[in-house]
């Protein structure tokens, strides 16, 4: 049953990987505010009707490259 070293090993690795990400998130303050994000996501398609004159074209250009 040596294969168990592979499956277990990979699983532990995966868990450690996610644990690292979790610590990083906590450290970066991703979870300090546990309310605002849930409301903010409701307002993410307040669309801009008209592009403002100058900068938009430039950005459109870079964005669509």
């Amino acid at each position: 049953m040596e294969v168990i070293y592979i499956t277990m090993g990979v699983t532990v690795l995966l868990a450690v990987f996610f644990l690292l990400i979790f610590f990083k998130n906590v450290k970066e303050g991703q979870y300090e505010d546990t309310y605002t994000p849930s409301v903010r996501m409701l307002f993410d398609d307040e669309l801009v009707k008209e592009p403002t004159e100058e900068p938009s074209k430039e950005i459109k250009k870079t964005e669509s490259q």
Binding site: M1, E2, V3, Y5, T7, F22, K24, P37, D44, K60
Partner: protein
């Protein structure tokens, strides 16, 4: 800070939108075809590529990777851009991802019916397509991580975490489960590097997590985005959603062994699987409650809005399936449910209810957003909802009853200590009415889906053209990615945590796969049984035909150590008997009886006639005819290469055996054919039709060999 303007890419969303719909129509149609094969086994008579064993993998792959896969990408491409306030990282990668994935699906739809299969469930695709899958997955990964890096919103909303977990975990699992050695670089055929028990363990570690990370985490991500959007209120508890995510991913990855209870897997691993499976109920139900309570105070909307109705039933189905899952992981319940239709019912609560309805709700909602119009017909969507819901019930409930019925019939003894239903066929004909109801339920569900297709088509027609949307947001305060002048190299790398973790992970994964796997597996020290020998060349060819026809979709090769099974099939299966099985063929469902001890049970003529027309030997059977095996000439031109490949994986074929492989095939085929002459009917009808060259002979040789090595041992000892 000054705001920046940019465009959301809606064109790519539109592509995935229609791909989801088209593959939903195709995948479910194949599912229906398969369901009706249970009732009319021979309605596709004589067409090999439309036989059950080849269509079933096509159905599962189409439903999982084509329908749900495209549905996930659709929701991901729509929501990630908006949550992170940026266009996707690269338009080129987005398009490459889309067209690459569709190419994979088309290749799968061609190769699976042609019989190119590795037989490992939900990983049936052969090696060249596997490589393509990994490449396209990496393309998607780069696109996702790139988008994260250029985001304008610091906080990463919980839905995206579910997408990331999907990306990382599926990549790992897919690679490790599909490690296989091609027979020739020019051919499609390959053999799994793992054998027997080991292969089974890797397969179900993958299989379970395919459900966890392809059918669950992406859908949960979609739930956390589209349910609040459709209800226009925030998720019930954002804090709970974060706890939900982290507990779910940490517990889910350990639950795989519950697919192998009562097999040769070490007990501690089985128990570990059970413990974690039972624990799974907490994160699962935490998520379900969070989803449902998002609608608190909005139930009046649910009454009117079909989209919310779909979401409510989807989340409820998720709750049901994730209650059932832990329960089925208890050994005593598993002993009943395993190998029966109960599991098929359980799975379809998850797929039709949870995945299908989340995606349906999302499609309706996105149709309105993308085409900037109202639904063509809300009434029709309501009809879809009700027909679909009733369809799910008609699909699953009969299968639960069928599962219970069949399991108890299998185990029933009479006072004399013999099986009440000694003939397996009795336990099949008993549940045929349930199969009929299942097919009816499936038809209802499909009808509802087609109504949605029409509705969305009309909605798209009446709406405006899909355009990229202009949005604006302030950029993030940029921390330079470059190394500061006096900064130590490692401090810079630490600052770039994402880069660091990804690099470390990829490095270790590749290292692990390349070095550890062969080292551990080639000389495996599973207790070997001296009398268990590698297959002869002809038997090997027969086994490949068994795989090509997908026999493992209906027949298991794993006799569990229960009195009822030993009584019915013979000595229970030992780990040491499978050491040369690349891949393992234990199966997961007994539509027909177990075959592990079929060798020597019947004579060659029985098998010959049975494959020609199963109803000749077993009146009332639902097994279709496999009569093309009697017409096809056996192609054994690559037998030496096959044996060499297997030898590289640790099967002890000698040089002489490989050199004499072709001669050996011919000699054994002649013997098998000669034995058929015992039956005067055979001599009369096929006596001089060169049967020894046909595929059926190889298959008979394999079937007659199966599970006999141990019996040989016993007689030798006596």
């Amino acid at each position: 800070m000054e705001k920046q303007q940019f465009y959301y890419d809606n064109k790519i969303v539109k592509l995935f939108f229609w791909a989801t719909i088209i593959w939903g129509v195709v995948g479910m149609l194949v599912g229906l075809m398969v369901a009706f094969l249970f009732l009319f086994p021979n309605y596709m008579e004589g067409i090999p590529w439309l036989s059950f064993g080849r269509l079933r993998p096509l159905h599962t792959n189409a439903a999982i990777f084509a329908f749900v896969g495209n549905g996930f990408f659709l929701g991901m491409y729509y929501s990630m851009q908006r949550l992170l306030k940026t266009r996707m990282f690269s338009d080129f990668l987005s398009k490459l991802h889309f067209w690459g994935w569709q190419l994979i699906i088309v290749l799968a739809a061609i190769t699976l019916p042609l019989g190119y299969t590795s037989t490992k469930e939900y990983a049936e695709l052969e090696w060249p397509i596997d490589i393509l899958v990994v490449l396209i997955w990496v393309v998607m990964g780069i696109n996702m991580i790139g988008t994260l890096l250029k985001r304008r919103q610091r906080h990463i909303y919980v839905a995206i975490w579910f997408y990331i977990a999907t990306l990382v975990t599926i990549a790992m699992l897919y690679i490790f489960n599909n490690l296989e050695l091609p027979v020739a670089m020019t051919g499609m055929k390959s053999y799994s590097v793992y054998a027997g028990v080991q292969d089974a363990m890797v397969q179900w570690w993958y299989g379970h997590n395919a459900v966890a990370f392809f059918l669950t985490t992406p859908m949960l991500g979609l739930m956390y985005y589209f349910v609040p959007k459709a209800a226009n209120r925030p998720v019930y508890s954002y804090r709970l959603s974060i706890i939900h995510f982290w507990t779910l991913i940490f517990i889910y990855i350990w639950a795989g062994p519950h697919h192998l209870l009562y097999t040769a897997l070490p007990d501690w691993a089985q128990n570990l699987g059970t413990v974690f499976s039972v624990m799974m109920i907490f994160p699962s139900w935490g998520g379900m409650i969070n989803g449902l309570l998002t609608l608190r105070g909005a139930w009046d909307k649910v009454r009117e809005d079909p989209i919310l109705k779909f979401f409510v039933v989807a989340i409820t189905a998720y709750g049901m399936a994730t209650f059932e899952g832990p329960m089925l992981s208890f050994k005593n319940l598993n002993a009943i449910a395993h190998f029966t239709d109960w599991i098929v019912g359980h799975v379809h609560i998850g797929t039709l209810g949870w995945n299908g309805f989340i995606i349906a709700g999302m499609l309706y909602w996105l149709a309105k957003k993308l085409y900037k119009t109202e639904l063509y017909s809300t009434k029709l969507a309501n009809y879809h909802f009700w027909i679909g819901t009733i369809g799910i019930l008609f699909y699953s409930m009969p299968l639960y009853i069928a599962g219970f019925t069949q399991a108890f019939m299998w185990k029933q003894f009479n006072d004399a200590g013999t099986l009440v239903y000694g003939n397996f066929l009795e336990t099949v004909t008993q549940i045929i009415p349930m199969y009929a109801m299942r097919a009816f339920g499936g038809t209802l569900y499909y009808t509802g889906f087609l109504m949605m297709v029409y509705n969305i088509w009309k909605t798209a027609k009446q709406g405006s053209k899909v355009e990229d949307e202009l949005a604006e947001h302030a950029p993030l305060k940029v921390i330079s990615g470059k190394r500061a002048k006096n900064e130590a190299w490692h401090s810079w790398l630490e600052r770039k945590t994402i880069l660091f973790t990804v690099l470390a992970f990829v490095a270790v994964a590749i290292g692990g796969a390349v070095e550890i796997v062969p080292l551990l597996l080639v000389d495996s020290n599973i207790p070997k049984i001296a009398s268990v020998k590698p297959y002869t060349p002809l038997e090997l060819e027969g086994r490949d035909i068994y795989m090509r026809e997908g026999c493992n979709n209906c027949h298991s090769q794993m006799i569990r150590p229960f009195r009822s099974e030993v009584e019915r099939y013979g000595e229970y299966s030992k780990a040491g008997e499978f050491v040369y099985d690349h891949p393992f063929l234990w199966g997961s469902r007994r539509t027909g009886p177990d075959l592990h001890r079929i060798g020597g049970k019947y004579n060659n003529n029985w098998h010959f006639n049975h494959m020609m027309d199963p109803s000749l030997t077993s009146p009332g059977t639902i097994m279709p005819k496999y009569n093309w095996l009697h017409k096809n000439t056996l192609d054994y031109s690559t037998i030496a290469e096959k044996m060499k490949t297997l030898r590289a994986l640790g099967v002890p074929y000698t040089d002489d055996e490989i050199a004499g492989a072709k001669a050996s095939v011919e000699a054994q085929a002649k013997k098998v054919e000669a034995a058929l002459h015992e039956d005067p009917e055979y001599v009369k009808n096929y006596g001089d039709s060169n049967m020894q060259n046909k595929e059926i002979i190889a298959l008979i040789a394999y079937l007659q060999r199966m599970g006999t090595d141990i019996k040989a041992n016993k007689t030798a000892q006596k």
